[in-house]
């Protein structure tokens, strides 16, 4: 993937990646237009992180990627579909009766290693996977893709403590920092001051990136082997859909097919 980063805006491979992200966004919008609606705001903010992570590691059997902020299942399904890990189009049945595409990641589907949704579990799961790879002496990683709202859960910090204590350096915690949570803005509900310093205090290497720049994402997803890695990916809730970008109330939405068509045409 080195070439992908070096010629980020030029290579055909990178263009394909951008196309995957765009197609996934379109799929997320279609899922929001299902009867159930979906967690669209956080799905659109995290999708680039997911596309980047799977671009880099989905063919590495020793690396496990888990979406810990499981309410963004629509994004996970869309990404897995783009990479052929899921063969069925999630937008065709998301949330429906007899559909495995439930509102939070369904481990009965391929590519989903843990039932996340209640927040923080995916972080500890990924740490356990990483510890297992250390014991097996592989080069595999445990990658948790979580959210800044999720960091209000004590479990995340229990895990950070253990990752440091047990020297689990093959661990990446990529945080989708979109600043929102279910009922509004983190800043209004339970802010996370000094987040970089917090992770550094737990012994992490910290990288802050634009969470919608695939070149930055792919370059960042590389631990140094000396410390566990926290990526603070600054994102925008609802990214790509002008009507909801940055709107904390776009956490969950159910839209009409007409609106979905309009939003898909306007994808930025």
């Amino acid at each position: 993937m080195g070439t992908l980063v070096q010629s980020a805006s030029h290579s055909a491979e990178f263009e394909q990646l951008l196309a995957k992200a765009q197609a996934a966004r379109s799929s997320i919008i279609d899922m929001a237009a299902r009867e159930t609606g979906c967690h669209i705001g956080g799905s659109l903010s995290v999708i680039d992180l997911l596309i980047g992570a799977y671009a880099k590691y989905h063919q590495d059997a020793n690396t496990s990627i888990v979406l810990s902020k499981g309410h963004s299942a629509a994004a996970l399904y869309a990404a897995l579909y783009q990479y052929g890990i899921l063969s069925d189009d999630p937008a065709a049945s998301y949330g429906g009766a007899d559909s495995l595409f439930t509102g939070h990641p369904n481990p009965k589907l391929p590519g989903i290693p843990f039932a996340t949704g209640s927040l923080g579990h995916g972080v500890a799961y990924a740490a356990g996977w990483a510890l297992g790879q250390k014991l097996l002496r592989t080069s595999g990683l445990g990658i948790a893709i979580g959210g800044d709202g999720e960091l209000q859960e004590g479990l995340c910090w229990e895990t950070a403590q253990l990752v440091q204590a047990k020297g689990i350096t093959n661990f990446i915690y990529a945080v989708d920092c979109n600043g929102g949570q279910n009922d509004g803005l983190l800043a209004d509900i339970s802010p996370l001051p000094n987040l970089r310093e917090r992770f550094e205090a737990f012994g992490f290497q910290v990288k802050e990136i634009d969470g919608h720049d695939l070149g930055q994402i792919i370059a960042a997803l590389e631990p140094d082997g000396e410390k566990p890695l926290a990526i603070l990916a600054h994102t925008v809730k609802g990214k790509g859909v002008a009507a909801i970008e940055g709107n904390p109330h776009a956490h969950y939405a159910k839209i009409s097919e007409k609106i979905a068509l309009k939003w898909k045409r306007g994808l930025q």
Binding site: H121, Y125, A126, A127, G128, L131, G132, L135, E158, T159
Partner: protein, 311 residues
């Protein structure tokens, strides 16, 4: 030679098993004690994860997914209650090959107080389904259960007491602890069958069995729903009335499960009631306060039998 307490038997047996099974991982939550034999023999596969029970269960899930067989030990109250969501997801729902070894079951914490007692764990774990639940009695049975857990791909919850030492009931070496164990010969004319679960209950029932020729004594080591279903026919053949003796609350206890499985039978419970154990004292003292024990059980048996002792 005196027996080992179940907690010590667990540590010793797991260490032995790890010699031939390199996939076994031993996880502790700062309650395994110093000079843990597993740590001394296999330091690379031993992790004291500290006081982080919920994270520990999820970390065990990651290890299980990577092909390992993690045994995670802490106190029952913390495993079944504090880490309950992880147990539900990783063991119950996803069926990960994780073995939880929960000491301080019931009120074996004695004077440690109510925070360290757990009279609700079987109910909680039973509710999650798909988890094999074992309550071994004595060193030999504990060792056998640990062996069975290590050989199985099923998630396990193994409930132990604190430091009491008991000799196990005699069990055929070729039989699994999954099999119902009757003490001595089954008395065909006994109207009542005592059903014991766990160490204190089994000790009491064994004493009464020795003294009272009108009872049978069935000891259950495994009490998850699937295991209980397997006992149904044998229990029905032993008596028509059952008195389940368990160091647990009635709600969600084994008596309630058996009552549903044996609708034609009378199923009664000798349990720890509904009070909170607020006083100190030994394990036996706290049980006595809760109305659980030999004398109380003897009275209950007499009351069940009526004046003519006809159950």
């Amino acid at each position: 030679m005196s027996s080992l307490a179940a907690r010590e038997a667990y540590k010793d047996e797991l260490t032995k098993l790890a010699a031939d099974n390199g996939n076994i991982i031993c996880l502790e939550a700062d309650l395994g004690g110093k000079e843990h034999p597993f740590q001394q023999s296999y330091p690379d596969r031993f992790f004291n994860l500290g006081i982080a029970e919920l994270a520990s269960v999820d970390i065990a899930a990651g290890l299980s997914k990577a092909g390992f067989v993690p045994f995670f030990s802490t106190f029952a109250s913390f495993a079944a209650l504090r880490a309950a969501e992880g147990v539900k997801l990783a063991l119950g729902y996803m069926g990960e090959n994780i073995k939880i070894v929960a000491a301080y079951g019931g009120v074996s914490g004695g004077w440690f107080g109510t925070t360290h007692h757990c009279l609700e764990d079987i109910a909680v774990i039973q509710t999650f389904q798909n988890i094999r639940i074992a309550c071994p009695h004595g060193e030999a049975e504990t060792r056998r259960v640990v062996q069975e857990a290590a050989a199985s791909k099923e998630p396990y919850y193994i409930r132990l007491s604190r430091n009491d030492k008991f000799d196990s009931l005699a069990r055929d070496e070729s039989s699994s602890c999954r099999e119902l164990l009757f003490e001595g010969a089954v008395r065909s004319d006994a109207p009542l069958c005592l059903v014991s679960i766990g160490e204190q209950a089994t000790e009491i029932c064994s004493r009464i069995y020795q003294e009272n020729e009108r009872v049978n004594h069935a000891h259950l080591c495994y009490v998850d729903r699937d295991s209980l279903k397997g006992y149904k026919a044998e229990l029905q053949a032993a008596a028509g009335t059952f008195l389940v003796v368990e160091e647990h609350r009635a709600a969600g206890g084994t008596a309630s499960s058996l009552a549903l499985l044996l609708p034609e039978s009378q199923v009664y419970s000798h349990d720890c009631g509904e009070q909170w154990p607020i006083y100190g004292g030994s394990h036996a003292d706290v049980l006595h306060y809760l109305g659980f024990g030999y004398e109380a059980l003897t009275r209950q048996i007499a009351e069940l039998g009526g004046d003519d002792n006809d159950f």
